[in-house]
Symmetry: C2
Subunit: 261 residues, 2 copies
Amino acid sequence: MTKIPQNHPRYKSLIARNKLVEASNDGLLAQSAMIAHGRGEAFDYLLGEKTSESANLAIKEVAYRLKKSKKPIISVNGNTVVLAGEGLIRIAAVLKCPIEINLYYGTKDRVVKLLELLKAQQLKVSRELPPIGWTGNWPESVISVKILGQEEDGRIIGLEGPRSICSADGIQDADTILVPLEDGDRCEALVALGKVVLVIDLNPLSRTSRKASVTIVDEVGRAVGVLLDEIVNEKYIRNKWNNELILKDALEIISKSMEIF
Amino acid sequence: MTKIPQNHPRYKSLIARNKLVEASNDGLLAQSAMIAHGRGEAFDYLLGEKTSESANLAIKEVAYRLKKSKKPIISVNGNTVVLAGEGLIRIAAVLKCPIEINLYYGTKDRVVKLLELLKAQQLKVSRELPPIGWTGNWPESVISVKILGQEEDGRIIGLEGPRSICSADGIQDADTILVPLEDGDRCEALVALGKVVLVIDLNPLSRTSRKASVTIVDEVGRAVGVLLDEIVNEKYIRNKWNNELILKDALEIISKSMEIF
C-alpha cells in the first residue's frame, strides 16, 4: 500500500480507500463493495468532501429520532464496519442499543469476520475516554453493546430470499433503524413496515436516499463523528422534518461544483 | 455472480461491473481498479449512461487526430482491456497501430495476464467480419496488431520511478496517444512532451480531462464502439477544437441531472 503524505489534499479519502482495500484483501467485503465505495468517493468529491449545513441538520434530526425511539438499532454492512465501526460502537454505547451485522450479499464466513472486527473495535473503544459531555461507566457501557447478526431468526417482511434474513431481536423488532449505506430495496421494505429508517448515503439521487425517513448525505465516517457529539450534547430545536429539502440542497451543492469554467 | 435480467434498466452497467469483478478475481487488476470503476459508474449514472452530443463531437475529433497522426498508439491499463479490449483491437487493426499495456501500478505478473487476455481478444476479433465500411484482409490486419508492454526500454520524461516506464517503440516514440482512463500526472507529462493526448474519462472535472488534447467524456466501452465507426466512415467537417467547451457541456449535463425535484 502506498504511503500517503498527511498534507495531501485528499488525505482522509485516500486513507479510507486504503482501509477498504485491506479489508477486501482480508475477505471482509463483498465483491462489489469496492465499486460501491468508488461510487461514494465520486459523490463525496462532488460534495466537496465535507459535511454540508443541510447534512448537519439531518444529523441533528437523526440524533433526535434515535433518542426518542423505544427500540433503536444500528444495522451495519462490511463497508460501514471498516469505515465507521468504532464511531457506531460509541453511539450504540450512549444509546444502549444493539448493532446488527446485516449483509445484502452475506456469507457466514464474512459475518464471522466482521463480528471479530467489531469485537476488536469494541475492546479498543472501551479503553478510551468517554465522549465529551457524557457521564457514566464508559468501559461497561461499551462492552454491554450487543452485536447481533448470527441469529438469522428474524425476517424483513416484503423481501424474499437471503436478503430478508435478520435478527428477531434486532432489525425485526426495532422501531428505528440507523442503517448507513443501505440498499434501495431493503430501505423501501423497512419503511413499508412502518419503521423509522435513518440512512447515510452520499448519493442524493439514490432510491435509499429518497425513500428514507431521514437522509444524511455525507461520508459515513465523518457523519458518525458529528452524530455522536449531537446525541451526547443535544442542542436541537426541532421543526417539522422535510427530507426532500435536504436532498434538494445536496443536489444544489453538486450542481454548483460543476460551475468551474 | 448474480444473473442480471436483460430488461434491467442498468443492464450494460451491471454487465460491465461483473466483468471487472471477474477480472479482479483473476488477478488482472490493481487493488484500486474496482474503486476507480465505481467512481466512473457514479459519473456515468449522472451523465445518463449514454454518449452525449458533445462526447460524440469529441469522438469525431479523436478519430480525425488518430488518422492524421504519423505514429499513433493506444495505451491500455487493466480496466480498459477488460471493458473495451476487443473494440480497441479493431481500432488498432484499422489504424495499423500498436497497443501498449502500460500500467500505473504495474507488476510483471499483471502485464503477462493482460497480454494473454489481449491475445485471446485479438484471436476472437480476427475471426469476426470486418467493420462495416472497411475493406481489406481483416484477419491479417488484426493479427498484425503489435502488443507492446513487456519491453520496458523507454521512459516518459518528466515522471519518476516505475510510472515512467514505457516501450521505446511505443509511447516514447508516438506522436499521438489514445489513452482511455489515464492518470492525471501521466496525462500531464505526455502533454508536456508535445504529444497529442486523447483520453476517455467519465469525470469532466479530473486533471486528466482538463489536461488532455481531446477528452471524450463517456464510458470507455460505449465510446470505443462509436470511435471505430467514426474512424472507418469519416464524415467529419473539422473546425478549431475547443476542449473546454466539451467539458463544460458534460458538466451542464450532470448539473441538469440534479434538477429532479
